[in-house]
């Protein structure tokens, strides 16, 4: 089948068995690869009783249709399984070079089941694949593990995806990292750790992206590239990164402060913003394969307490918010340090920082005491305890053992009302305050496939004015909580479901008709805008079906009061969406039953999902 390699590597760690499995062409045609394909595949094997950290969970690394081609910003790979953190659909994606390298080695993806009886790593090349002993790597951080494996392979071009100590210790929100990019959310690193799979290395030399219509594909790539190159977001992310909006969002209320409780313009934001970082510490960008944006940055801190040993990853937006404004810490260099620690131990920065900020909130409201948290004292603005918590979580030491289970587990132990915890479906919400953009309500709490997510429904960016009208996504007032907002957000979820199948980056927004052309000319399946909409809705609904199978109920679509209580200041002062109203409109549009959450038959039939 054009656009795909046509095979996946299947590994059974319990049996020490590796073989090739042919790509399911029907799944590929209907879900395009990536997370969509993975969800359809895993649906047949996982259910409500599957323990996510048992040998029965299946971990998939899956590239998308466009991965390895020169289509812009489409080199990600998806990592999917049942999430140990939320116990629903687990999905995250990672940029860098691992995905294209996997395709160069001759595979569209990897399916991993079972559990090894000792630490191993999987070495993949185009000629052979082998499980190797990783006892000497167990206990090492991500940087060191990657370096050792590259040296062992004899090539710096060998690509490594691995876990750190967080994954080994089954921190429920551990990450998998590759080339300083992370598959961050939903705890896929813990699944990998539970299988005692420390790393996967891949080296391929074939350049084999074969579109069905090479000339047409080339033309579509050119169109996509032109649109992306001329977009303001490309300039913004390329020059500054994801942190470019901090100064503005400080005023609009999108930047959360003091664990979601403060709307005032915070002076500290200017000290930590991406714009300050660009002037003070950023030295260069390091783009992913086939990306002309280059949102990720390298930084150097030349002196002081947080002096770095050469170039390190510069914090992205979620780090600045999580270790900055959420605890009112205005020391940029200290955030760089927290960022390095999370990424090297291999724990999700967003979940970690939100869980820790939750402790600051409780401590400063006299709901927990110092003795509850290993004697640490938490004062707003003081980041020092954060470093302790990051280490304790990663090694499950002391209170870290409970914190490794996340905010809800901590809240439950200390009898904190669920309405005071900024989680939905058991996962911490990203740092784009929904009170400043009501579209984020749907991103976080209405049928969100993997739980609260700013990538599967990035209304906060789209409603700045990115034109997607071809896909039926019109520009609307960000403070609307009506039927139109429900529909626009649902359509954006569908579009982003295509992205997660193509493994494209949401920062790249060619016209939807160009995306249809890319699919059409790559696979030769006669794709247009209407078919693109169906592909997106089908992928979205597949994840909904998966979640229903895992036991998701309409009552799980909820928001805690702490996220809905209107802020007193900022441009969003006094504003809060009517959640129940949005829920009703959203369910109606989606064809979800308000009592059971199930998708109506008409919709399933239309999408060809009626047999599931």
């Amino acid at each position: 089948m054009k656009g795909f390699i046509g095979k996946l590597l299947k590994v059974d760690l319990s049996k020490n068995n590796i073989n090739d499995e042919p790509l399911n062409e029907e799944f590929a045609k209907t879900f395009l690869g990536g997370a969509g394909y993975s969800c359809r595949y895993l649906y047949d094997f996982l259910d409500k009783n599957t323990d996510p950290l048992s040998p029965n969970n299946i971990l998939m690394f899956m590239t998308g249709l466009l991965c390895g081609s020169n289509a812009p910003s489409s080199a990600k790979f998806a990592v999917c399984a049942k999430s140990p953190y939320t116990e629903i659909w687990g999905e995250c994606s990672c940029g860098g070079f691992f995905g294209p390298e996997l395709r160069k080695a001759g595979y569209d993806g990897i399916i991993i089941k079972g559990t090894s009886d000792h630490p191993v790593y999987l070495e993949i090349s185009e000629n052979s694949s082998e499980l190797k002993d990783a006892t000497d790597l167990w206990g090492k951080g991500i940087q060191e593990t990657s370096q050792i494996l590259k040296e062992k392979s004899g090539s710096n071009l060998t690509r490594v995806a691995c876990i750190g100590q967080g994954g080994e210790n089954l921190v429920k929100y551990a990450i998998i990292a590759s080339e300083e990019k992370a598959a961050g959310r939903t705890g896929m690193g813990a699944v990998m750790g539970s299988k005692r799979l420390k790393a996967i290395t891949v080296r391929g030399k074939k350049r084999i992206y074969e579109p069905a219509d090479p000339e047409g594909f080339k033309e579509a790539v050119k169109k996509a590239q032109n649109t992306i190159n001329s977009a303001f977001t490309t300039t913004m992310y390329g020059n500054i990164g994801t942190t470019a909006g901090v100064d503005l969002w400080n005023i609009t209320g999108e930047l959360p402060k003091k664990y979601w409780t403060m709307g005032d313009e915070w002076e500290g934001a200017y000290k930590i913003s991406g714009n300050t970082a660009a002037e003070k510490i950023v030295v260069k960008k390091y783009p992913c394969f086939s990306c002309s944006i280059g949102c990720a940055k390298k930084a150097i801190i030349k002196e002081g307490e947080y002096k770095t040993n050469g170039e390190v990853e510069s914090p992205e937006y979620e780090a600045l918010a999580g270790f900055g404004s959420m605890i009112l810490n205005d020391n940029l260099e200290s955030i760089v340090q927290a960022n390095i620690l999370c990424n090297d131990y291999g724990i999700d920065l967003l979940t970690t920082s939100s869980t820790i900020a939750f402790l600051y909130h409780l401590y400063n409201n006299n709901k927990i005491k110092s003795e509850d948290i290993d004697g640490l004292k938490l004062h707003w603005g003081d980041i020092k305890p954060v470093f302790e918590f990051i280490r304790k979580i990663s090694f499950r030491e002391g209170i870290g053992n409970l914190l490794a289970e996340g905010s809800d587990a901590f809240g439950k132990r200390f009898k904190i009302n669920q309405d005071e915890i900024a989680t939905v479906y058991g996962m911490e919400v990203p740092y784009h305050d929904l009170r400043s953009n009501f579209g984020m309500t749907i991103a976080y709490a209405l049928g969100a496939p993997r739980g609260p997510c700013h990538n599967s429904c990035d209304m906060c960016t789209i409603l700045l004015g990115i034109p997607l009208d071809e896909f039926g996504i019109e520009y609307i007032d960000k403070f609307k909580d009506d039927e139109e907002m429900a529909i626009m957000s649902a359509r954006l979820q569908d579009l982003r479901a295509i992205y997660s199948s193509l493994t494209m980056c949401v920062f790249a927004n060619p016209k939807p008709s160009t995306i249809a052309e890319l699919i059409d000319t790559s696979m030769g399946i006669d794709c247009d805008i209407e078919k693109l909409k169906t592909l997106g809705e089908r992928s979205y609904m597949m994840k909904r079906l998966f979640n229903l199978r895992m036991g998701l109920k309409p009552s799980d679509d909820r928001l805690p009061k702490i996220l809905l209580k209107p802020l007193e200041k900022s441009e969003a002062a006094g504003k809060s969406p009517d959640f129940q109203k949005l829920k009703k409109f959203y369910y109606e549009y989606r064809g979800f039953d308000l009592e059971t959450g199930k998708i109506n038959e008409e919709k399933l039939n239309a999408l060809g999902l009626d047999n599931l």
Binding site: I240, G245, D247, L248, N275, T276, A278, G465
Partner: protein
Amino acid sequence: MVKMLTEEWVKAFGDAINKNPNYKPSALTWEGDMLLVIEPSGKLDHEVRVFLGLYHGECTEARLVKEGEEVETEYIMAGPYVNFVKVMKKEIDPIRAIMAGQLRLEGNMANLMRHTKAAQEIIESLGMFKTDYL
């Protein structure tokens, strides 16, 4: 009512920036002049450039740039005449116009992003006095 793109209109624009209560607080640390490049479209058949001297929350100078005159500024905001008109008539939000590529913003990106609100208020000021469009 002043005729758009005349010296009188440019002066009114500069005055409007200084009278805009939201501009000064958002631009207290802004240093760097801006050139508006209004490109031919609709009823405008030639390019018009407007120089804005901007320093610490004040518009220090506003004038039309003569044809052929070389001007260097820290920042440039450019776009077709019809898109500037849409913003002035509040048919489109200035940030949306920039994000959607209807207006282009060039210059030191870190400084611009720090002062997005100020850039927005400069454009908002265009709608704060009565204009007789072309």
